[in-house]
Amino acid sequence: MTDSRNINQIVDHLFRHESGKMVSVLSRLLGLQNLETAQDIVQDTLLQAMNTWSYNSIPENPSGWLYRVAKNKAIDFLRRQKKFKEITPHYSYLLQSEYTLTSTVNNLFLENEIQDSQLRMMFACSHPAITEESQIALTLKTLCGLNPGEIAKAFLTNEETINKRIYRAKEKIKSEEIELSVPQGKELPQRLDVVLKSLYLLFNEGYNSSHPDLLIRDDLCQEAMRLAYILTTNTTTNFPKTNALLSLMCFQASRLQSRLDDKGNIILLKYQDRSKWYKPLIERGAIYLELASETDDISPYHIEAAIASLHAVAPTFDKTDWRSIYDLYESLYKLQPAPVVALNKAIASAYATSKENALEQLLKIKGLENYYLYHTSVGELYFELQNKKNGKKILRNSFASHHFKTGATAIKR
């Protein structure tokens, strides 16, 4: 052990990210129907790395080492199988000959092919036949290398539930004969919408202020951004709305560190130290928003990104351009008439117009009876309008429908 290379020299999350890449590549090689086998090979590869590297040293090119081992395991697997056609319809011809077998496998592990495989995998995980919650679970498992235990933690549920979601997703892959491909032509925009939605939800899960563990939330946001970034680097999927979504994520993520105090309690926007907002992300958010605006086809992500940008550039809470934010919410509501949008629109109107107006709007909203932030907002407005009796009643309601640690502490203030 004279080599001084140590764990610190490995990139953060190397295993996790490489696992997602390798599963994607191997699934493309072996066919998505053999996802299970691909995952086993990757698991084996990582175990081997862990054992070998622990005792010796980390190789010069850790990723290259992992790919080589995974490739060899995949080739071994293919040699053992005689029925290439059943395993991997696309490559069966090339894999039948020893001469082309290795080079075919090698080619798939080239950088641009790896990314292409990840892209295909994103579309497969977000296949419309799979339910939204299963899509996210499958994405986290296959592309982000999280195991069911980690996913369960992220969703505040148990491992069994996650296993079921993944199982159901895999059943769909079989029954719908879902393949690893990027949809073409007319199908593409619709399918991309599902992928974007799934990434949006993944990011939202991380951004969700009710999760007690900051690290997990950070990870989910980062994973969502990493995958959205892949979409922007590929010409087939680099649409204005793809950039809009990534822009939104950048703006929101710039506040991840300043949203919590030392004890993990939420700091409300009003009280956040704006100098702690992560500037490089805000700048990137602005760049992606610029790229996103090269279109007349305005998506909800565009508007949400624009709102986020106004918050990001506001020097103080009071100097925020609430009027524009309110107008943007109006456009968003026209595009997406959901009660949650109405809630946010109402909150913005408290600052853009008047509190009375905001309260009136809030009380008209139907469908948020079980959403704690709805009751909190109504209660707070009553308080500020000196109607303390009503305020207390509403806030009690809010406590009843909300039992997460950090959220509750912020409400008490």
Binding site: N6, I7, R16, S19, A49, N51, Y55
Partner: protein
């Protein structure tokens, strides 16, 4: 000589966990190296056979059960057993069902 048994990550261990675990091993080895206590170490592949008796029958030995699996070994330098036991404090797999066998290597002058 430290012989590590068990503590192999389960089949469903996450990539993140494996990387962290590896980090702990490397940190341990580095610490021992710096203190001049580390001599060498190797991981062992799972499996192995037991060779017995005159006929040298090869059978699957006691290595087949996961829990008894020998994961690897270190050869370390220590003044005495107490110091060697202290070195074992940093063994990363205690929490994951692993254990250590500590054996003294006989020195043979040749």
């Amino acid at each position: 000589m430290l012989i590590f048994q068990g503590g192999m990550p389960a089949d469903n261990a996450s990539p993140e966990f494996m990387q962290q675990q590896m980090g702990k091993w490397m940190a341990w080895i580095e610490k021992l190296s710096k203190a001049g206590q580390y001599v060498s170490g190797e991981p062992l592949l799972p499996g192995g056979k037991l060779i017995k008796g005159k006929s040298k029958t090869v059978t699957d030995g006691p290595y087949t059960e996961g829990k008894e699996l020998v994961g690897g070994f270190f050869i370390i330098k220590a003044e005495n057993y107490d110091e060697a036991v202290k070195i074992c404090d940093d063994y990363p797999d205690y929490d994951h069902g692993g254990s250590i066998q500590l054996r003294q290597v006989m020195k043979m002058d040749m």
